[in-house]
Subunit: 351 residues, 2 copies
């Protein structure tokens, strides 16, 4: 019996509905294994702006710091996207949370599930057997550099910077992961143009000698954007900086056949955060069509991180049951779809 | 009968061999239509570094300035990629040429050829009918901002900047293109994070009112990286900044089934440049397996630009003949492949 505090940030759009299913699954795990999970809910994103004017209220940040792990739904609302002059945005909450918690590594596994191969836009023979994981740097680069306008507002800038230690700490995690997997690491950069990429390449090349069992490959990001689609099984661990990781990891999600299947972990200096890779998908909000599996698999990654591997394995088994029996939301089962809640209930019940 | 000066920059790797076929086709066009094309060849890229120490010799730049159009093969050599400390790189030649000639708009059409649908890694029903064109800004953004290291070399930076006129001039071209096509323009940016993207969005939203017939959509680049694969037929004209355009346009090339099919035009203040989107592909150099069609279709775009539409149409017809009859290099015809030269000869002969 263990006792853990989990801060839940449901967020915006479909965030709350998928989070609810993940929470249900965590509660089922707690009951089955006689653990105590103290699950508390907090505001972040557009909902937090609406309620408090602040996308990341102090209360939420404190609750995250005090927790053993954080589970996030999704944030974002189109009403802020189309107002380039908006002062406060939901995304600022998420970016600040990443920075405050020191979540420098975003880890996104991408697997092609055999039963879902027909749902991928890619031909089966290209993707079968795909099993890759992307390590995306999450607290540096152009996301967090100086940004602004000239005095007359007629020009804008965003500065991208990286320091050696910023590259080293995530590269170590990626090398370790590769060592425990198929021993291949691919650095994705644009070293033929960017100085920051040349620094990444320099650091990774030096570090490679400390991981002799790992084969290191270097790909320019434009080429990587093709290779991920042309031949995804060539990849084991992909390591990349923040902006490229944002693009390449969303792109790679198409392999799985649905974004609604893919979880992620953001880890770093202290508490870790787990979230589905999909966004807040506001058009689907409240319709019961959002796939809760990405959120539930994020909960499984959370359990692993809390050193509860048997519990995580059981959640994965339950998800496989749902996949194998077609207990799936409409994007994966258009003819006899289940609702978000039905999928969550099925998985929780199985545990 | 017209008389035109065309500067040819064969470049590195497979550049010279595919350029040779495109030149052959241009010569066939000149003969057939009784034109005079003055085709002169100049060094740029790794070959220019090897010969002169300079990736863009003055002689080459002057020849381009004096020409009516420029045809480029490809540049780049891996011997420079793995040396992060190299002072001189082939890519500097290309980047400087773009800047010196003011080539601010890179235009990349992507079409799914019916006869090649089986070669795409994407399922036929997803891509059939794809006909999109990407307008990538080419002389601004993070490619051309300040870049460097801190004094101790332990941190690196790349600055991304955009000014309103830089956005306006390419956006006008993209709006005009959309107006003459299916009246849809999609701006790809990261306005939820980057200030430069917010400037792009602001400018494009203002300009939209001057093109009332064009419907404007806004997509975050991570989402765009998925949509290009999930549903490419939704796009007509895609407009984006330099770095995102580099990634998204290479990614979109997978739709066509081979990079070896896709041409591009870079236009701007004066002379325009035409090049295949593929790189120098050094592993294939001299093997006769490089597909010359992208270079030949780049020559077709060059002819259109020189206001020779009948000539361009004939080149396209000849290419279609090769496609329909399987006169193709191994990546598209693995069982009975033709060489680079055989494909070029077939197309030139047809003209
Ligand atoms: C919402 C947005 C700021 C965020 C990002 O770009 O990092 C999202 O796309 C993600 O990948 O988590
Ligand atoms: C060679 C390189 C500098 C170039 C770029 O990134 O612009 C190439 O990838 C391209 O797209 O033309």
């Amino acid at each position: 019996m263990v006792s853990k505090r989990i801060a839940v940030l449901p967020g915006d759009g479909i965030g709350p509905e998928v989070c609810r299913q993940a929470v249900k699954v965590l509660e089922a795990v707690a009951e089955r294994f006689d653990h105590r999970f103290d699950l508390s809910s907090h505001l972040m994103g557009a909902c937090a702006i609406d309620a408090t004017g602040n996308p990341l209220p102090d209360e939420t940040l404190e609750a995250c710091r005090a927790a053993d792990a954080v589970l996030l739904g999704a944030i974002g609302d189109p009403k802020y996207d189309h107002d380039p002059s908006a002062r406060v945005r939901p995304e600022q909450g998420l970016l600040r949370l990443r920075k405050e918690l020191g979540l420098f590594a975003n880890i996104r596994p991408v697997t092609a599930y055999d039963v879902l191969l027909t749902h991928s836009p890619l031909k089966k023979e290209r993707i079968q057997g795909t099993d890759l994981v992307i390590f995306r740097e999450l607290t540096g680069g152009i996301y967090f550099g100086n940004k602004g306008r000239t005095a007359d507002g007629e020009a804008a800038y965003d500065h991208c910077t990286y320091s050696r230690p910023e590259v080293e700490r995530i590269a170590h995690l990626a090398f370790q992961a590769a060592a425990g997997r198929r021993q291949k690491l691919t650095l994705v950069d644009k070293a033929n143009v960017l100085e920051t990429s040349r620094l990444w390449r320099e650091v990774v090349r030096e570090m490679a000698s400390h991981y002799p069992e790992v084969t290191v490959d270097y790909l320019f990001v434009d080429n990587a954007a093709m290779q991920v689609i042309l031949n995804p099984t060539q990849f084991d661990v992909i390591l990349t900086e923040n902006m490229f990781g944002d693009i390449i990891s969303d792109e790679a999600s198409v392999i799985a056949g649905s974004m609604g299947l893919l979880p992620s972990a953001s880890i770093g200096e202290a508490v870790a955060l787990f979230e589905p890779i999909h966004g807040s998908y506001p058009q689907a909000k409240g319709k019961g069509i959002a796939n809760p599996i990405a959120a539930i698999l994020s909960a499984a990654m959370l359990l692993e991180h809390l050193e509860l591997p048997a519990e995580a394995a059981l959640v994965r088994e339950a998800v496989d049951e749902a996949l194998n029996n077609g207990i799936l939301t409409p994007e994966l089962n258009p003819t006899a779809p289940y609702t978000t809640e039905e999928v969550g209930n099925y998985i929780a019940f199985w545990i």
